[in-house]
């Protein structure tokens, strides 16, 4: 009898990657869910003896799913699959009853290893049919951003010694004239400081921008064990240290997955203690429509607000789509 396996991930690209990574000779009935609530419904309907669960999802996230499984005593074995690779995330899900934790991007060998370790994979059955569902180009980039965000988040967590909340990246096409609007949606009226850094490699180029709300400095300084007064210069140092790590790790995360490497320009301090609407005096009308990845980093129990945006140049979209389409193995 085939084993009911449920894959719960908000990215259809990640769902597909996961499905493809399952052993070919494992006799399963696959079901998919796009958020925690859908996932729980499928579990209650008996569609998931084994559940591969993502953590960062809309409606109900992975942690909430684990809590509900425990509360309702649902009969399933959960393997968490996440781009959030902070050691603390692993500890938390294991404490909530997950069997194991697999880091994204998914590695087929690792899956096989874990299935064998827990004796989940029974006798070989028939080879499963090839799965073919359409994956949107933006959805692929979303998943790449998700993994890159997780890596950068992990470095930040290690640097600060705190748990970083990762609500999931937003990937979208934006118009040049809308850049101001997008930015003002990040921070309505509070003063911010911002750093920009250009990157280029393998026909893909763009600029990363990190904005840091004024009120964050005090808490960041505490976490980084900064001694002495937090004056203007100390704030600048903190801003640069954080931007080095977040921008660097995020770009490296993207580059590694695409199997390329980026040259990074020198960072530019775009503005300090300014209203976000004053930040961009630059003429952005040279391009019409391009891709933006927006990532929010929040620190648990701390007043730290830090947003990273990767804005790709218009002419790198083709190369980006071509590179990411290689990932549909």
């Amino acid at each position: 009898m085939p084993t009911p396996v449920l894959i719960c991930d908000d990215s259809s690209f990640a769902q597909k990657q996961m499905a493809r990574a399952l052993p070919d000779d494992w006799d399963v009935t696959l079901s998919f869910a796009a958020n925690g609530a859908e996932g729980l419904d499928a579990l209650r309907a008996g569609k998931g003896d084994i559940l591969f669960l993502d953590l960062n999802m809309p409606v109900l996230d992975g942690y909430q799913v684990l809590e509900t499984i425990r509360r309702e005593d649902l009969n399933t074995m959960v393997i968490v699959v996440s781009g959030d690779i902070q050691p603390e995330a692993r500890t938390r899900v294991l404490a909530l009853g997950a069997l194991d934790f697999i880091k994204k991007p998914i590695d087929a060998d690792k899956i096989g290893e874990i299935l064998d370790k827990y004796g989940i994979r029974g006798a070989p059955g028939q080879t499963q049919p090839d799965i073919d569902f359409k994956v949107d180009a933006l959805d692929r980039i979303q998943e790449i951003a998700n993994v890159a965000m997780g890596r950068a988040g992990d470095l930040l967590a290690r640097l600060l010694g705190a748990f970083v909340k990762l609500p999931g990246p937003k990937v979208r096409m934006i118009e040049g004239r809308d850049l101001h609007m997008r930015l003002s949606a990040i921070e309505a009226s509070t003063a911010v400081s911002a750093v920009c850094q250009g990157f280029i490699g393998a026909g893909i180029a763009g600029e990363a921008m990190l904005t840091f709300s004024e009120s964050s400095f005090a808490d960041i300084a505490t976490l980084m064990r900064h001694e002495g007064e937090i004056d203007d210069n100390a704030e600048l140092e903190l801003l640069m240290d954080i931007s080095n790590i977040l921008i660097g790790a995020c770009l490296k995360g993207v580059a590694d997955q695409l199997d390329i490497s980026f040259s990074q320009g020198h960072p530019i301090i775009l503005g300090r203690h300014v209203n976000i609407s004053e930040l961009l005096d630059y003429d952005t009308s040279r391009w019409n429509r391009t891709l933006a990845i927006e990532i929010e980093y929040r620190i648990e129990n701390r007043n730290i607000d830090c947003d990273l945006m990767l804005l790709f140049s218009e002419d790198s979209l083709d190369a980006l789509h071509e590179r990411t389409s290689f990932l549909d193995f």
């Binding site: 240290d241 790590i245 790790a249 020198h266």
Partner: protein, 319 residues
């Protein structure tokens, strides 16, 4: 190295270019010993590669801010990610003197720095690369622009004749002060005053005499108020002063003192001796006002009463 030349030849070319590059390059090991020192570093520091290779960076250059540099470098070793610093954080890592007598614009070289992790054959990060860029011209250009903007901003809010704030900027200050009052409920008082029969001065002695009267009035005003008070030229011969954290009674005292000082002035202009007076209206901010314009109008009403009551006097707005 791609191409059909031998690796050795390519390596020599590369070394030549590293030596000649107008960018500072050095490699440090885990104990901060200098392992590479290119031509730029030799020439600007005055210390040859032979003198520094193998030595500890901080012993060789005791002026380097050790804690700061180590902090950045350790994160590159540990997190295996690049780090960038700008001249805005620290002007330089190593103090290199200005070397251009004609076009050199600063005393020393401003530097941007990049730190990169260098992978060893064993797969570990045992060394870091330090890249120093000369950004003196950029830094000086930026500081000059900032200074120019600051002085432009000052010019654009100052009235030429009186050197007080001009009307536009002064009214902005009044608006800000009113907003502050609404937030904190800390009182403030506004004095509006103008020179009595100013037109007669102009008509009798000419505009130059009029200008002199205005100049002397503003000078007297400036010397009579505190540094926290905000004085502006509101119109031709009309002035405004915002007295922070001051009530109507205290302000009335100040208004009277100013009035008496001005009445006692004698201006010698050509063979004439000119004397003149001012009338003042005083209004403390109140919860009944909903914007700064109402506050301004209250002082104006008091000023009107002072004029109507025979000039050379100050009147407090009665509400």
């Amino acid at each position: 190295m791609p191409g059909h030349n031998t690796d050795i030849e390519g390596f020599h070319w590369l070394m030549d270019m590293v030596q000649t590059l107008d960018v500072g390059l050095m490699v440090l090991d885990r104990d901060y010993r200098i392992m590479l020192w290119n031509g730029f570093m030799e020439n600007h520091s005055g210390q040859s590669a032979a003198d520094v290779i193998g030595n500890n960076l901080f012993e060789q250059f005791p002026d380097i801010s050790k804690n700061w540099f180590q902090n950045k470098a350790e994160s590159v070793f540990l997190l295996e990610s690049r780090a960038f610093t700008t001249y805005e954080q620290r002007p330089y890592l190593l103090r290199f003197k200005n070397y251009r007598p004609i076009t050199g614009t600063a005393e020393f070289m401003y530097q941007n720095m990049t730190l990169i992790p260098l992978l060893s054959p064993d797969g570990k990060i045992n060394h870091i690369g330090v890249i120093l860029y000369d950004v003196t011209d950029i830094a000086i250009g930026k500081y000059a622009l900032e200074a120019a903007n600051t002085s432009l901003a000052k010019l654009s809010r100052t009235d030429r004749l009186t050197e007080l704030y001009n009307r536009g900027y002064w009214e902005e200050c009044l608006q800000v002060e009113f907003a502050r009052y609404q937030r904190t409920k800390q009182t403030s008082t506004l004095i509006m005053f103008d020179i009595d029969h100013f037109k007669k001065v102009n008509d009798t002695y000419g505009h130059q005499a009029g200008d002199e009267v205005i100049r002397l009035t503003s000078r007297t005003l400036r010397s009579s108020i505190r540094t926290t008070d905000i004085a502006g030229r509101y119109g031709g011969e009309e002035f405004g002063v915002i007295l922070i954290d001051t009530n109507a009674e205290q302000s009335h005292y100040l208004a009277e003192r100013l009035r008496k000082k001005i009445a006692a002035l004698k201006i010698g202009f050509q063979q004439h001796e000119i004397q003149f007076t001012i009338s003042l209206g005083v209004a403390e901010v109140s919860p009944a006002m909903s914007d700064h314009a109402q506050w301004l109008s209250a002082s104006d009403q008091a000023l009107y009463q002072a004029k109507h009551g025979g000039r050379n006097q100050s009147v407090v707005f009665a509400g």
